[in-house]
């Protein structure tokens, strides 16, 4: 064999290996034919033959232990079904979903954050919820609108949320610091923003011109975005309109003006307190922020390391400009089923068992320390059980009905974290005018559509 023949041979082997390895997975059919196979409306009971279900979740011990408990109970009731969990750390999970779904190598059941669902559903990767599991209308009746909305894409339902994700409506308050500042009645709430600003200003500490404790730390990325869009709604505006994304409006201006007041009145220094340094969760539990705007998920995360602060922490509802304390919310974590799963029927049956059975759903909420997505579990005995376990849930349970879904964006994280947060922060730091901020956000978000 001549040397150049060897070269040709080796090249062919390499090329073949590459092509075969890369194209080895089943190639997806053209886009227009990639409609997920819908289950028959009236399906037979789950077949008695052995069914194995793979479930993908992100690594969150509380979430997964709660889910495992329910899976064990389900398998005891359905011995023909075997459920195996595969977990990934958060960043890896996002990347795994992004690559595995188009490649068709995903598990049967996929845990999804609500704001991700439509981007995958539109790619034909997720199965529609069969009507024998729940109809769209029934889901909208039973589940909080802010939570189910993320799972509805083009009027079709693609999954069921397990939790109510909330980043606005109530704020963490350090009652010990409040007492030391003679604000003992702070937990009774504030009648309006003037009262709030007065209290938060007293809680701020400035030494030699340096803010050593923020009165109200809302300048994290979630806090800024949630505040901005919630205040637009409370002022009677809408940022998603038929003409596109609109924030350069009187309501947008009012929202920014109030946020700037928080800074100008000395509640927070946005140069010192932001996502890069003194992030609200860290800062609150290190007691460099007296009031912090962050969702209730933060308590279990920090209570172990900061038990003394957790003990004196209460969530207090924020004032509202509108009579109803409307706020924007992302749809939280829930379960979806892969369109390519060979066991969709069994998969949906398990999803229904976990998410739509109120007792099971609240059991998972208690295990995971999350607010319920099911309306039935936000009142009555279920709510009492939740409050008994997590007393700080009480103010949130009262406002869940006012949650408004943040809306569908091609890339919600881009809008929240790469456009809204940096632009509003620039404004609060004094590097953009309010008008420039609104114009920039509006233009950049519309570009993303």
């Amino acid at each position: 064999m001549k040397p150049n023949t060897i070269l040709v041979f080796v090249s062919l082997v390499v090329a073949a290996a590459l092509v075969l390895s890369a194209c080895g997975g089943a190639a997806p059919p053209p886009a227009e034919t990639r409609q997920p196979e819908a289950l028959p409306l009236e399906t037979a009971p789950v077949a008695a033959e052995k069914v194995s279900l793979r479930v993908w979740t992100h690594q969150n011990d509380a979430f997964n232990e709660g889910l495992q408990t329910l899976a064990d109970a389900y398998m005891a009731e359905h011995p023909e079904v075997e459920i195996a969990f595969e977990t990934f750390d958060y960043d890896t999970y996002i990347q795994t979903l992004q690559t595995a779904l188009p490649a068709g190598t995903q598990a049967d059941i996929l845990q999804m954050f609500g704001s991700w669902v439509c981007s995958y559903a539109k790619g034909g990767n997720l199965a529609q919820v069969p009507e024998n599991v729940i109809t769209l209308e029934a889901a909208q009746e039973q589940i909080f609108s802010a939570q189910i909305a993320g799972y509805i894409c083009d009027d079709q339902l693609y999954g069921i949320p397990q939790e109510f994700n909330i980043e606005y409506g109530a704020a963490l308050v350090n009652t010990r610091l409040a007492e030391e500042t003679n604000l003992a009645d702070i937990t009774s709430g504030w009648s309006d923003w003037e009262a709030f600003i007065a209290d938060a200003r007293q809680l701020a500490v400035v030494q030699d011109g340096v803010m050593t404790r923020a009165g109200y730390n809302f300048t994290g990325s979630d806090g800024i975005a949630a505040t901005f869009y919630s205040l637009i709604l409370q002022n009677g505006g809408q940022y998603l309109t038929d003409e596109g994304f609109r924030v350069n409006t009187p309501e947008g201006m009012k929202a920014l003006e109030l946020m700037k007041r928080f800074v100008d009145e000395g509640l927070v220094d946005p140069v010192l307190f932001n996502d890069e340094q003194n992030w609200v969760g860290d800062s609150y539990f290190e007691e460099t922020s007296a009031i912090g705007l962050v969702g209730p998920w933060v308590i279990p995360e920090y209570a172990g390391d900061f038990p003394d602060v957790a003990e004196v922490t209460q969530y207090v509802p924020l004032p509202s400009i509108s009579p109803d304390p409307v706020f924007v919310a992302s749809s939280g974590w829930g379960l979806t089923v892969s369109a390519k799963s060979p066991a969709q029927q069994a998969a949906w049956d398990f999803v229904r068992y976990v998410t739509l059975n109120p007792e099971n759903a609240v059991q998972w909420n208690i295990a995971s320390g999350t607010l319920p997505a099911l309306q039935a579990n936000a009142s009555g005995a279920a709510a009492e059980n939740l409050i008994a376990e997590f007393p700080y849930f009480e103010p949130f349970l009262k406002i869940l009905e006012y949650g408004v879904h943040e809306g569908h964006f091609p890339d919600r994280d881009l809008v929240w974290y790469d456009i809204t947060y940096p632009r509003v922060l620039e404004f609060l730091q004094g590097n953009l005018t309010a008008q420039e901020t609104l114009e920039t956000i509006e233009r950049e978000v519309n570009e993303s559509f």
Binding site: M1, K2, P3, N4, I6, V10, V13, V14, A17, L18, S21, A22, C23, A27, P28, P30, A31, R34, I94, Q95, Q98, T99, L101, P102, S119, Y120, G123, G124, N125, Q207, D208, G209, V210, M211, T212, V271, L272, N274, D275, E276, Q277, N278, T288, D411, D413, L414, D418, I419, P422, E426, Q429, G430, N431, R443, E444, E447, S448
Partner: protein, 328 residues
């Protein structure tokens, strides 16, 4: 073993040929799959509007919902209007910051490591090794750990740097070294300078060891001859050491430039991916965000191609400028 046409490979026995195949095939496959294929795929993606979220066409997901766009990404990069899309403006920002970062790192690195290497080399043999170890330890530290450590040093309220300044000034100093977008020194964002200091701290030891090795390889006879001619220490450094180190300086320049163009982890951790106000956003951060946060893989690949061309051209220029025609 001679595999060239003029060699006698043709006459070797079959067993030897099989051995050759067996020996080179794993490496060829390895390089083909883990180096050549990703490079070629990355290059190809630069000409597609590709997102891993979309299934796309049958060949590696290209085509279909991930359409071929030709040179569109590169044409968009040339849009310098203030109304250019955010993605383009972020690319311009990252390109500018990367060039600034790399061209600031290189002279600073050389200005510190070269004299330091000479000083260490001139130290007593017993403590020479200790100095080498001390400076090289930072190289061994994981970048994320280094970034976290420097973030604490720069922390406005609890940071070591402000603590020292507070102790010296007698009043509380709360400078936001890495989060204040209005803080500049000689027109350079202080946040970027703060990152550069952290990067230099970690990177110094690497070049230092290379320079020390090069200094040790300079024949002592040359120095002896110079001493006999009565040259001063400075003249020795200027006219003997530096010229003889030119090939090493070239190597260090190229390596430092390449690594500073690829800076990622320190910035990702210290300034949360390029803050404040994107003053520390470099090209690899831009590539990472577009590719893995926002799934704009096609655009990210196009930026990668630009980064590759930049590094390639600058390395080529460096090798031309610092090339020597002799060896010792």
């Amino acid at each position: 073993m001679n595999l060239s046409r003029s060699g006698n490979f043709h006459g070797r026995d079959a067993a030897q040929r099989r051995f050759v195949f067996a020996a080179i095939l794993p490496m060829v496959l390895y390089l083909g799959f883990f180096a050549l294929f990703p490079i070629l795929w990355g290059l190809a993606l630069a000409f597609f509007d590709y997102s891993a979220r979309r299934a796309g066409g049958p060949i590696l997901g290209m085509g279909g919902d991930n359409p071929f766009v030709g040179l569109q990404h590169f044409r968009e990069m040339l849009n310098f209007s203030p109304d250019a899309p955010l993605i383009v403006r972020q690319f311009h920002t990252s390109l500018k910051t990367t060039l600034f970062f790399a061209f600031l790192i290189l002279p600073l690195n050389l200005a510190i490591t070269l004299p330091l290497a000479v000083m260490i080399e001139s130290a007593h043999t017993r403590i020479k090794g200790l100095f080498r170890l001390i400076f090289f330890l930072a190289v061994l530290a994981p970048s994320v750990g280094v970034a976290i450590m420097w973030s604490y040093i720069y922390h406005p309220q609890r940071g070591l740097l402000n603590g020292i300044l507070t102790a010296l000034s007698g009043k509380l100093v709360g400078i936001s070294w890495i989060t204040d977008p209005d803080l500049f020194f000689l027109g350079i964002p202080v946040a970027l300078l703060a990152v550069i200091v952290a990067y230099l701290w970690q990177d110094l030891g690497y070049n230092l060891v290379i320079f020390i090795a090069a200094l040790q390889s300079i024949p002592e006879s040359l120095r002896d001859a110079a001493r006999i001619d009565g040259v001063s220490d400075w003249q020795m450094f200027r006219y003997i050491t530096i010229p003889l180190l030119k090939p090493t300086i070239l190597l260090v320049c190229v390596l430092t430039m390449i690594s500073s163009f690829q800076v990622f982890d320190i910035i990702q951790v210290m300034t949360e991916g390029g803050g404040p106000n994107e003053l520390t956003r470099v090209m690899v951060i831009d590539i990472y965000n577009n590719a893995f946060r926002f799934q704009r893989m096609g655009w990210a690949s196009a930026v990668s191609v630009v980064l590759f061309l930049l590094v390639f051209i600058i390395s080529l220029l460096q090798s031309r400028l610092l090339r020597t025609e002799w060896e010792y």
